[in-house]
Symmetry: C2
Subunit: 429 residues, 2 copies
């Protein structure tokens, strides 16, 4: 029986009239000629478009009204078959796909033109048929949130879920996640699940999965390939390396940042090449050491949210620091200037924080490069006031590490020791 | 009479024994062979080194104990002559050099090994004899502060001083400045001195001027060349383009950021090439439009410090936003995630800020790329709550602009209008 999932009204009629169903390989003449496979659509889609998966992996939405001609290509077999999706191929490795929401699991609301998170992990998986050739994918929806709404409590839920699959037969785990705060989540998982034996790839997309030019498919395919072939462990962010579709980058989850609001290649490993690159299906390993500095798995998933990130700037009011102290914060991560400085007008408030037993660490708003507080007399003053230089840790990642460290001990000396102990490649030596 | 400024004890004896004085061209055999000109030293220097200016423009400190042989090169004339420094060359243009402190006007304290700001503008000028071939340089010390200690009140003093030279015969003004907050200062000057008729170059260095491998000389030479030949106006940051000494970059003062803690090429124009490049003495102009969108000079140097930069992250406590509201802030610049988002747990506090008449603008912690708040429903919610998307303004620069805007009007609608009005190339269209 022909399959028409998601097609309705005009679009369903169009497919039936032309004797085309989901999975058919077709050539379509519209503004230009498109060749691809007719894809299923989602429940709430409009009835004015059909979705075609191009050879490049992109899904493209074509307006029916603009289609001049459609020809079925009989030489190619159907790729999307419902039965193929559920039967496991015993020869392939297994991957778990956890969905948390974000653009990758979103679709355009054609009424408002904005993007909303609605796809389930199963829908996401089935929208990328190439995945079934790489691995058997089991799917699970954890929640459906844009990543700006992902809170530390969501991190806990992800970590607990992953921890539950410690003794599974999965080769790796994909976590579909919004890109906005993906690097915060990846670093939390890196610290809380230190030594986790199988690799984990956080995957997002800059364009929603049902949209022409979505980068979701290639990122997911790259992640599946990476997880089944990389022969390493650790927590990575797997996304486009740049605007081209040729290279997928696997970034160390504690050394990565979203550095562009909209480009596909928005994520960058700070000050280094990505750990792995997938170029034309080949995996290149740029990692010298392992991801974790220990091979022993010792999950510590507690977290304390009373950690402040203080970005210093001219005109920053030291009273704001006093508010943080009064609110009972356990740690302050300074995003200082240059090599790790803050103005001398901050010294009295810093002294007060030190006396309250608050851990204070220094990072740089330059983002790239190492803090070095012995070069200038002002840096030395700050060392004397008890601020600990945090090597070349990225400010946001230092914040997450301090949340995790203070969640696991209340002793400031122990927090300091944890912060300076390289656990998950969060700073270079 | 031979000149020995700054030499004392062992180093003075070494020079006298070898019949060498300041300005002599010499060849020195130590670990390798060095050719250069003997330079004056500063008052508090030790007596164990002599300083040589190499052909590359770098000053290098050589330990006397390691010098095997020194030969005077009689074919070259002395370059540094005190008399040359004070007599004006009527054929050359004039430049004003204002010193504010920072590494560029610093030297190493050989006792502690740290760097302290002590050089005057005159010392700085005389330490780079090449400058006298480009322009007559008048010098003035404004203050002597590391840039992490430069406060908005210092910005005012710089702007007032520059404004006083409106009708001078200077071709341009160099402001020697610490690099840590140089881009905050350059953006303030860009807004407050809109339309200032002659170009202004903020120049810093990543290594102190008396140190081997200082980048100060080449940055100053590049700035002098730029100011006398660029035929434009505006406020620029002039620094090394990268680790090589071949290219000096002139960055638009509102589109630039210190992106590395220690490299010479630490400053980068965000998302674009620098406005001007000086490559092998030639100036390349990459600017399509003028720096200022008006040619009318209308200084507005007032400033209001009650502006907060709120960097959103998972776990950010909305109560911190309430503290800002309670403290009577006039504007809040959000450094949101991705295209310009903050978590929905922030909405009640944002609503409160809006009701208090506080201006709220959105930028992105991605730094590069444009905020676009119509793509996701969460962005639309924030627009409804009154947050204004600030195009592709760099968060730190948006902060400075909001300080300046709220300093010049208390009317929120006017603040909004100013923030969205492109004044000094602070965002691209």
């Amino acid at each position: 029986m022909p399959e028409y999932t998601g097609y309705d009204g005009n679009s369903l009629e169009f497919l039936k009239t032309n004797k085309i169903s989901i999975g058919d390989s077709v050539k379509i003449l519209a503004d230009i000629t498109y060749s691809g496979i007719v894809m299923p659509r989602y429940e709430h889609s409009d009835d004015k478009h059909i979705v075609l998966k191009l050879k490049s992996g992109y899904n493209i939405g074509l307006e029916i009204a603009k289609i001049e001609k459609v020809v079925k290509n009989p030489t190619l077999e159907k790729i999307v078959e419902k039965s193929e999706r559920v039967v496991k191929n015993e020869k392939l490795p297994n991957i778990l796909l956890l969905s948390t929401g974000g653009t990758i699991a979103s679709k355009i609301d054609y009424r408002t033109g904005s993007v909303t998170p609605v796809l389930t992990a199963e829908e996401l998986n089935s929208s990328v048929p190439e995945l079934s050739k790489i691995a058997n994918i089991d799917t699970k929806v954890l929640f459906s949130e844009y990543s700006e709404n992902i809170m530390p409590e969501h991190w806990l839920k992800i970590a607990q879920t992953v921890n539950g699959y410690l003794n599974s037969d999965y080769s790796g785990i994909i976590i579909a996640h919004g890109t906005d705060t993906m690097h915060y989540t990846s670093s939390y998982l890196s610290f809380s699940l230190t030594g986790f034996p199988i690799p984990i790839a956080l995957v997002g997309s800059q364009r929603s999965s049902d949209r022409a030019s979505s980068d979701a498919a290639l990122n997911l395919i790259g992640a599946a390939k990476f997880l089944t072939e990389c022969k390493t462990n650790g927590i990575y962010i797997v996304m486009h390396q740049d605007e081209n579709d040729e290279t997928i980058a696997c970034h160390i989850g504690t050394r990565v940042r979203k550095n562009h609001t909209s480009k596909r290649g928005a994520f960058q490993t700070v000050g280094n090449d990505p750990a792995f690159l997938i170029v034309n299906d080949e995996i290149h390993n740029n990692m010298k050491d392992g991801f974790f500095t220990t091979s022993k798995y010792s999950p510590k998933i507690k977290i304390n949210e009373k950690v402040a990130l203080v970005k210093y700037h001219p005109g920053y009011d030291p009273n704001m620091l006093k508010n943080i102290i009064d609110a009972g914060y356990k740690a302050i991560i300074f995003e200082g200037t240059g090599l790790g400085h803050i103005g001398k007008n901050m010294y009295p408030a810093v002294k007060m924080a030190d006396e309250k037993g608050i851990f204070m660490g220094m990072t740089s708003q330059c983002i790239d490069g190492r803090v070095r507080m012995t070069v200038y007399e002002s840096g030395r003053d700050l060392l004397d006031l008890g601020i600990i230089p945090l090597e070349n840790m990225i400010p946001e990642i230092a914040l997450v590490k301090a949340m995790w460290a203070t969640g696991n001990t209340e002793n400031r000396e122990e927090v300091k020791e944890i912060m300076l102990n390289r656990i998950a490649s969060e700073f270079s030596t």
